[in-house]
Amino acid sequence: MLLCLPLLAQNSGHLSVGEPQKVSAKRGAAVEAKIRLAVQPGFHVNSNTPSDEYLIPLKLTWKSTGALEAGPVAYPKPAMEKYEFSEKPLSVFTGNFELTAHFKVAANAPAGPGAAVGQLRYQACSDKACFPPKTVEVAVPYSVQ
């Protein structure tokens, strides 16, 4: 399993991304990386399945994964929160939460270090205002044994 350090590496506006821990994995092995995220108190981000078609979902996509083959990204169960500005509860993430990124190390992967690099897009609001969508880089370093 790939685990992230509790240290928050990237603070972009209202959401911080934890710094991933470098992991070692064998060829052909299935691995997963926990990516820790923290939303600033008093704010929320839309979940990966927002309540309205116009709302921008939180989404992690991989740009390059090196010797890893990208699998699905698992998102936590969102909270349904009611805000002053919404007539119905919205599907959101607040506080600290984790994404789990699944990978498989390629059977013919060369030994040595690398990094899977992706982009996390999100859009944050308070209970009064919303802020433009942002994209932050997420890197999962690895080492193939």
Binding site: G13, Q40, A129, P132
Partner: protein, 200 residues
């Protein structure tokens, strides 16, 4: 927002004279009521395209009270205020009120047009950009709404969801307070300036 952009935004906003920076993570703005005339700053003019590609200048609206609403389709609080503005436009157009919605969607009209149609927005929309947002103090939080008086000066700014009554009170105050030289509105809602002395 980068630190430099934030500093620039706050500096511009302070220069425009309508932002007070508090201790919260984001700049807070307190201007719920309409400012006295002598404290108002001239609203920066802009040239933005409407849905038909026609260039719209804020200065086109001089002589009118203008609500300039920075919004986006992904902004839920904006969706609360939009019907209010539609209602205000309907009730006060003949008195000289115009609402101008400045959309801040990166996807442009592709996102904004169907959204506007679904809500039946009855006022003019233009596509905003970062440059215009910077001119207005680095608009970051949406909705951000400026009330512009008939002389083209910023009379109030509301950041975030505001009460309908605050808008109504501000508009009423501005509509009832004609700019110097403006006597009344004609039937079409245009400001009528009295002819200069000696002219026919």
């Amino acid at each position: 927002m980068s630190v430099l952009r934030l500093i620039a935004a706050i500096s511009t906003a302070l220069a425009l004279g309508y932002v007070s920076v508090g201790c919260s993570p984001t700049p807070s703005v307190k201007a719920a009521s309409v400012k006295p005339d002598k404290e108002r700053k001239v609203a920066p003019d802009f040239a933005l395209k409407d849905a038909d590609g026609k260039l719209v200048h804020l200065s086109d609206y001089k002589g009118k009270v203008v609500i300039v609403d920075f919004w986006a389709t992904w902004c839920e609080p904006c969706k609360i205020e939009i019907p209010w503005f539609m209602d205000m436009q309907r009730k006060n157009k003949d008195k000289g009120l115009e609402v101008l919605g400045v959309a801040m969607d990166d996807e442009g009209w592709e996102a904004v047009k169907p959204f506007a149609q679904s809500l039946g927005i009855n006022y003019r929309l233009v596509m905003g950009n970062d440059q215009t947002a910077q001119m207005y103090g680095g608009v970051d939080a949406l909705p951000t709404t400026f009330l512009i008086d008939r002389a083209g000066k910023i009379a109030a700014v509301h950041v975030g969801l505001t009460s309908k009554k605050d808008f109504e009170d501000g508009i009423e105050a501005l509509l009832n307070n004609s700019a110097p030289g403006i006597v009344r509105d004609d039937q079409a809602g245009n400001a009528v300036v009295p002819p200069a002395a000696g002219s026919k």
